[in-house]
Symmetry: C2
Subunit: 339 residues, 2 copies
């Protein structure tokens, strides 16, 4: 009659059944699985035995309904197969598991609307918190989250949101250091290779770099193209290196761009790094340590970011909205002269 229901029928064993088998009340079962509840050693043993035999597991959906705490944390992210993103996700979900929470993964496209939808989903699932790695949701939605008592963490999102924790890198300052490094290496013509997506942190790096150059009275070439991926780095390098005044130093908005730039400089333009051209990246993805690149870059401390985010989730908020500033460490490798 109802074949669809038949197939999807889930028959999990409930606390009632365990109680019957153990010869105790349902409350006893519930208390056995509630840390800190009052149960005698004897009943606990019998309950555990019955639970084991029947394959009982507490229903976290129902528990979440009662406790008003689902244990779910929503991770909102786009292009999650990118090296930096995936390592951040890994770090976060690892930290979450350490405090018995569990990550729900939602990937979005570029649009802010899809981030809004993701947050709505988080609300529907009564997620304890949402961590946003990409895009920027509408204020009305974030307000609803906060009002509903959901925690909110924005990573490298720049824009402020009441009641949310914001973890940001000090992009400007880092960019400044990149410029100094180029100067020390004796570079004369510096350039900045950026994507054209214009996210706040990328723009901050650009602005910081340009500002440092202007401050030093040096001209700087800025080129922007495509998403922050390898292929864009290829195009950017082609544009930069065919210029009349060829740059001898390129600061790239992130490591993937840098890889594309380096490969193109070497293979297509037959330049050597760092003798003909110095390159600095940003993120500290694993590939940069590979001997084909050996890229000097700024390290985003993903573990620290993850730890800060998760520990804030488990601790009460101190003020209305908190900002955490992290200074990325410049990791010296072979793509810049000197060091």
């Amino acid at each position: 009659m109802r074949e669809k229901a038949d197939v999807n029928q889930k028959i999990f064993v409930s606390a009632k059944e365990v109680a019957d088998r153990a010869g105790v009340s349902r409350s006893a079962v519930s208390r056995t699985f509630t840390p800190g509840a009052s149960v005698s050693e004897e009943t606990r043993r019998r309950v555990m035995e019955a639970a084991e035999a029947l394959g009982y597991h507490v229903n976290h959906l129902a528990r979440g309904l009662m406790r008003n705490e689902s244990g779910l944390v929503c991770l909102i992210v786009s292009e999650m197969d990118t090296p930096y993103r995936s390592s951040l996700i890994r770090a976060i979900s690892h930290q979450l598991q350490a405090v018995s929470k569990i990550a729900m993964l939602i990937n979005t496209d570029r649009s802010d609307k899809s981030v809004d939808d993701a947050l709505r989903l988080a609300i529907s699932y009564r997620a304890d918190a949402s961590i946003i790695l990409s895009g920027m949701p509408d204020k009305s939605i974030t307000d609803l989250c906060v009002k509903s008592g959901q925690r909110l963490v924005l990573i490298n999102r720049d824009e402020e949101r009441e009641g949310a924790l914001m973890i940001n890198l000090n992009d400007r300052e880092a960019a400044h250091r990149a410029f100094i490094a180029f100067q020390r290496a004796g570079c004369r013509r510096v350039a900045f290779a950026n994507s054209d997506v214009g996210t706040p942190s990328l723009m901050a790096r650009e602005e910081g770099f340009v500002a440092a150059a202007i401050e030093a009275g040096v001209e700087v070439i800025v080129e922007r193209f495509g998403p922050t991926r390898y292929q864009s780095g290829v195009i950017l390098a082609q544009r930069l290196l065919t210029r009349e005044a060829r740059p001898d130093a390129i600061f790239c908005a992130n490591d993937l761009l840098a890889c594309g730039v380096m490969d193109t400089a070497r293979h297509q333009f037959k330049l050597t790094v760092p003798d003909d051209i110095c390159v600095i990246g940003f993120d500290y993805i694993e590939q940069c340590s590979w001997s084909s690149y050996d890229l000097t870059t700024f390290a985003q401390p993903v573990d620290q970011i993850a730890k800060e985010a998760v520990s804030w989730l488990t601790h009460p908020a101190k003020t209305d909205s908190i900002a955490s500033q992290i200074s990325p460490e410049l990791v010296w490798r072979g793509s810049v002269r000197g060091g």
Copy 2:
């Protein structure tokens, strides 16, 4: 008094409140948000209006409790920041979202016990399904999953489990083709570079390659070391290339190893690819297309895998356990002569 409760207090608006505001019964609200339920146009409008004003969202926890269908799908995976894994996760979570399901991410360490724990968690959350990308859970647990009506998908896991869908690559056959490719390129001394973790698919590649060589009456060198990462490739290359009879062709168990092997062959041993040595990888990670590598490799069709997995979740099982065999395509690039 109870400061902790205060802080974690979540105050979501419930269907009751919406009903009151709209002047209808709770059932009407529920039906408005249940596709296919019978509600008049007028009440639906009033309900939606009230819901909008109050910021109401259906509680999926409670819905899941009633419907016995949480909408959650558990992804169990280790080392998820690895390029191949992260692209597979992306593909799967994307497909899941397309059918209104949502991925919970659990990362495990190497041990099978942690996979067991992950599955137990999946049961606790009444996940509609679990997809296992790493490790192999105990049969007692998988049986419990299947008995409870939870769907199970094993990707590249080899070992059989009753009631589960198994998606496997035809590793042996692919390895055979790799050997043929080397022969066509005129290679004389072939080698296989493997990790020593010994997962079924890696071993299948090794066995297939060795079998093909033996069949052709050619000797083959096999070296195993470490996890399937770049750094292991470096070590493997050092071991292989310092041998008296230096191989002129290396089939690597996966792309990361291949990258390490290539870099080491070039930079440390000053060999050129593919003239001095040919290399073939496995997985088709993005890095292999970078011009520093330009690696000939077997493409794991992640989108196809994801699609098969998810479509099986939404369709009734036809038989007890289903196996799907996929033949990876050999993508020819510059790391092998000829082609």
